[in-house]
């Protein structure tokens, strides 16, 4: 029962969504728009709530048991509650000046810093990994140099052909490979969806048989 009912609901909902794309029917269209689409929004909102409760439980336990690096859990929970309270209490919610002060000066800067730090890791990783160990690795090294120089004005100043060469690599090598990958991924996604829809895939229903 625990598995059969969700499988039946999944099949009916999925079949309606598929039919709505292929059959011109006002009834189906309205049903999808006014019921199924809203049901997904409500489920997502519940999932966000569930995630919040889970964060509090997991990190609350870490603090309670004084596990290694529990200090970071304290920081996480303080900021979590602080931003939640600000969002709820402030008159203009997340567009309130007071809320935005913390958003701009804490979250925005920390997020941008985390993302920017990648440049240093990539620099170090490129130095260590792009070695001329084989023909393949040499081709990768040369391509990366051309693309990097083609992407910045300084590359064009060194040799005006870099942007053209970089674009050629993008259009004639990168694009076909990405297309092939996309088609493969889409076929994989389609197969997985069909498995979910007809109940072959049951891993998400409390795992295992």
């Amino acid at each position: 029962m625990r598995k059969t009912v969700p499988i039946i609901i999944t099949f009916i909902a999925g079949a309606i969504m598929i039919l709505e794309s292929y059959i011109q029917s006002d009834f189906l269209y309205k049903f999808v728009q006014s019921y199924l689409a809203r049901a997904v929004t409500v489920s997502t909102a519940w999932a966000v709530g569930l995630g919040a409760v889970n964060i509090i439980r997991v990190h609350g336990r870490r603090i309670q048991n004084k596990r290694p690096s529990y200090f970071y859990s304290i920081v996480l929970l303080i900021t979590f509650f602080w931003f939640s309270i600000l969002g709820f209490v402030m008159q203009k919610h997340n567009s309130d000046v007071f809320y935005l002060f913390f958003y701009d000066n804490i979250l925005l800067n920390l997020s941008a810093t985390m993302y920017s730090v990648l440049a240093f890791y990539i620099g170090s990783a490129a130095y260590r990994s792009f070695r001329v160990r084989s023909i393949d690795a040499t081709m990768l090294l040369l391509t990366s140099i051309i693309v990097m120089l083609g992407a910045v004005p300084i590359g064009q100043a060194i040799w005006p052909g870099f942007p053209t060469l970089s674009s050629w690599i993008g259009a004639n090598i990168n694009t076909p490979v990405l297309r092939a990958m996309t088609i493969g991924l889409t076929l994989g996604g389609l197969t997985q969806s069909m498995r979910n829809l007809i109940g072959i895939e049951r891993g998400h229903l409390s795992g295992g048989e």
Binding site: F120, S124, R128, R131, M148, V152
Partner: protein, 280 residues
């Protein structure tokens, strides 16, 4: 000699970090100001917005998180500035929690500069979770899909700008700022493939650019602006240089530094290999 070779292909990562930091920081004080070359796909994106008839309805999808500020902020500002100068109406939505909050922050200067009024020239819908269901609902009624509330909690149906935009088929152009999923793929699947929207352009982060160019080549996107380089090109086309233009010198020197390290590492690697052969 052996010690030098070993050092060449085994430079401490902290040295790489320090030199990279210098390479990125120095151009902030000494501008190189190298000319910026315009790519065809960036020019195409600019032309789409520029050539739309006055009063067109433009949906701006802010599908990114705050961490992408360096790349997305300048292109968002440039597109919004161009659209408002041309007298278009812009409607900003997002399925990313940060999307509309950052759009509100980053566009205040552009709104003030162009004299745009909230509810008349632009509207920010606010964060809506569950992208597909919300976008599907916009196909029949945008006000209902947004629960008749904007980012600030005000009634949408009271705003004069909403009379130009009832449902997805009223949209003349979609500009998606893409940093992953949901992104331009999802807009294409929900709106474009259903025939609701015919013009779509994308502002993407640098890592997302190759994915967007595939769609541009296939005719699914009419223009693409990618990374800080693309944003700098757009700023040049709009005629208002901003943070992306300033950042290009830093990015250029950083690329050169990484290439220099790669070359040094490979020279060291080849010399060490040669020495090992001699010994054996």
């Amino acid at each position: 000699m052996q010690g030098l070779i070993r050092r060449m292909y085994n430079v401490d990562r902290r040295v790489i970090y320090a030199i990279l930091l210098l390479a990125m920081a120095l151009p902030m004080f000494f501008t190189l100001g190298l000319p910026i070359n315009i790519d065809t796909y960036v020019e195409a994106a600019y032309n789409v917005v520029n050539e739309l008839p006055e009063g067109s309805v433009i949906w701006i999808g802010c599908e990114y998180s705050a961490s992408q500020i360096a790349e997305i902020k300048p292109m968002l500002q440039a597109f919004a500035r161009l659209a408002l100068q041309k007298g278009h109406y812009i409607y900003i939505g997002s399925a990313f929690a940060d999307g509309c909050t950052t759009a509100h922050n980053w566009l205040q200067g552009v709104f003030a500069e162009t004299g745009a009024v909230n509810g008349e020239n632009y509207v920010i819908f606010g964060y809506r979770p569950s992208f597909n269901s919300t976008m599907e609902a916009v196909r029949s009624s945008v006000v209902e899909a947004m629960s008749d509330r904007d980012h600030y909690g005000n009634k949408l149906s009271d705003k004069p700008i909403m009379k130009h935009f009832e449902k997805a088929s009223d949209i003349d152009l979609v500009i998606v700022f893409d940093s992953g999923s949901p992104g331009s793929d999802d807009y294409i699947a929900v709106w474009r493939s259903q025939g609701e929207v015919n013009l779509m352009i994308c502002g993407a982060t640098g890592v997302e650019l190759p994915n967007q160019l595939v769609k541009y080549d296939a005719g699914l996107l009419q223009g693409v602006v990618g990374g800080m380089n693309g944003a700098a090109q757009l700023e040049k086309l709009v005629g208002v240089p901003g943070s992306a233009t300033k950042g290009m010198d830093s990015q250029g020197l950083a690329h050169l530094t990484i290439i220099a390290f790669m070359v040094i590492g490979n020279i060291g690697y080849l010399l060490a290999k040669k020495q090992d052969k001699k010994v054996s």
